[in-house]
């Protein structure tokens, strides 16, 4: 094999020498597939949504137009504001709980499990629920939380309560619980990743300088975990802001979210109104992400 060197390759290359692309053309060619995919499946749909949001509509049809009516209706209605506030409330509560749980799970994995093999095994265990669909995992809460579910019947049998607890299912509590269950891993993963990169000798250096365990946590580990927390926050906040199925199923239709409102508008064929709502939501989420990126520099992590 090693003897097949220059003479052979010369023979193959020589007749093709006439046609050569310039380096610039090659670069553009290499970037083309991704550009086409992103253009066709991301930019074009968003552009279409933005265009449609200015159209007129009635019960049966959309009419190309340039009206700001959809935005005026959306932003002028107190229902919209209430729904946005409700969605933001979910986002804040779910974010706070997932940060708390996610940080401690990641901290335990990164600092208290000694072998890398065990760390990987336990991390994979965290991802096991993701082998089933979101909807299934959500619905499986119903037999647990329902009026005659495991928790209620267990509490009644043990004599702690006489009447089933009503707020366990079809309530904001159920929505938050399901969201935390669905999204905590998106917080664990990036935080675990940043914690794994912390040099363990930094912890020793801090201890050498007289830091207590709490001081090590607040002065060394949490500051260094900030980029991971920021990335996890972006995941969780965008997921919660766009969620409609969890809210619909777990609140039993008693709570609303922005995405659920859009879904309802679409089922009433009010596409331009839903599009306007989508644009408003997109702007809001992008502003939130921009805000997070202003606070924490995540470039080091990417």
């Amino acid at each position: 094999m090693a003897t097949m060197t220059s003479s052979e390759t010369d023979k193959i290359e020589s007749p093709k020498k006439a046609f050569r692309l310039s380096p610039a053309a090659i670069s553009y060619l290499q970037a083309t597939p991704l550009t086409v995919i992103l253009g066709a499946f991301l930019l074009l749909p968003i552009a279409m949504i933005a265009v449609v949001s200015f159209w007129d509509y009635d019960f049966a049809q959309m009419y190309p137009d340039f009206l700001t009516m959809n935005y005026a209706e959306t932003l002028g209605s107190w229902v919209t504001w209430k729904t946005y506030l409700n969605t933001l409330k979910f986002a804040v509560i779910v974010w706070a709980i997932t940060v708390f749980i996610g940080f401690w799970v990641a901290y335990f994995l990164a600092f208290h499990i000694r072998t890398t093999a065990m760390q990987m095994v336990l991390f994979l265990v965290c991802t096991v629920p993701f082998l089933t669909s979101n909807i299934i995992r959500m619905i499986s809460w119903i037999p647990v939380l329902g009026r005659n579910g495991i928790i209620n019947s267990g509490l009644i049998h043990s004599g702690i309560i006489s009447e089933p607890v009503e707020w366990l299912l079809y309530s904001d509590f159920a929505v938050v619980l399901a969201m935390v269950h669905l999204y905590t891993l998106f917080m664990v993963t990036p935080i675990f990743n940043t914690l794994m990169r912390i040099d363990k000798s930094l912890v020793e250096a801090a201890r050498d300088a007289g830091a207590s365990s709490v001081q090590i946590l607040t002065n060394v580990i949490i500051p260094l975990a900030k980029p991971g927390i920021a990335i996890g926050t972006i995941f969780v906040v965008t997921l919660v802001m766009a969620d409609f199925s969890t809210v619909q199923v777990m609140s039993g239709g008693q709570s609303a979210s922005v995405a659920l409102m859009m879904k309802n508008q679409m089922s009433l064929l009010q596409y331009p109104a839903a599009a306007a709502n989508a644009v408003v939501l997109l702007v809001l989420v992008l502003l939130m992400v921009a805000g997070i990126l202003r606070i924490v520099d995540i470039r080091k992590e990417l």
Binding site: D199, S201, L202, E204, A205, A206, R207, D208, A209, G210, A211, S212, Q215, N219, V220, P223, L224
Partner: protein, 363 residues
Amino acid sequence: MSKAAEIDIASVSKIYGTTTAVHAISLKIPAGTYCCLLGPSGCGKTSTLRMIAGHESISSGDVRLGNTVVTDLPPARRGTAMMFQSYALFPHLDLIDNVAFSLKMKGVEKDARRAKALEMLKLMQLEAYATRRPAQLSGGQQQRVALARALITDPEALLLDEPLSALDPFLKIRMRAELKKLQTSLGITFVHVTHSQEEAMALADIIVIMNDGRIEQAAHPRVVFERPATAFVARFMGDHNVISGRVISHQGNRLKLSVPAGGDFLATDVGAAGLSDTADIAIRTDHVRIGAPSEEGLGFTGSVSNVEYRGSSVKLTVNGAGVEDFTAILSDTEFFANPVKVGEAIPLSWGPEDAIVLGRLTH
């Protein structure tokens, strides 16, 4: 700020599960000395240092610093400060906050601790970089920051874990001189772990040579160089040829050794411990001369297997009389006055005081 403390290590062991990293070592490091723990990797030198620092629990035995037994105290309450191998500077803090870290942990006011940290940085000539992050500094500057951070606690002993290993050779020599100067001016005890013989020779007041969890020799560099205690020390320091054989006669301080299938050698016994019917002797490589010996047993004839020119000296490798790879270092003038070639047979000789009997550790 001269408040150096003596470090007394009393039969300290470190056991990890079923393996013993350090076998009941005892060592006294006098106050204000520069002590180097020297040995190959895995010899237990770093474990020893970390036990003094309090980052490793002591399986048995005690460590005393000054007048206090610190065996069970946390690192920060021992009066020691440690400088880590990779410096372990906090990447998210600027130099002032890095240096002021331990003061912050103690709850010192922000202005007071920043002023003290700036003073420390000035001492290290780093005040111009005070607001930079560690990643923006060179290796030598990072080391000085780590020193400043360790010294701001006003320790009685500074523990350095291979402090020079991350630096390039030129910087290594410069920082070495700076470390020595710092130790002299502060007057505190330095304990420095290294695997470089040259570094230990250059810096130490006491070299502690460790092998396999035991101390082979703890002495002034000159004693280690001229009177290595064991065959391991002689080989590890690299300035002696070690010849092993059976003892034929041992009269007064004269010992005669017979090498299997080879010649007999004479050596001076300067108080070697643990002698049995076999023994090792050490012969200074730089005292070997080309020429017939003055007395039988103080030389041999062998063939040259390698000649290495080193500028001011020439290193010959000679095989013969049952001795493999015997090294002779000749000065360049001496060698070129009468050059020899690979394959030539030459007589080698040395003085009676250049061959000494080595001891053995009794476990």
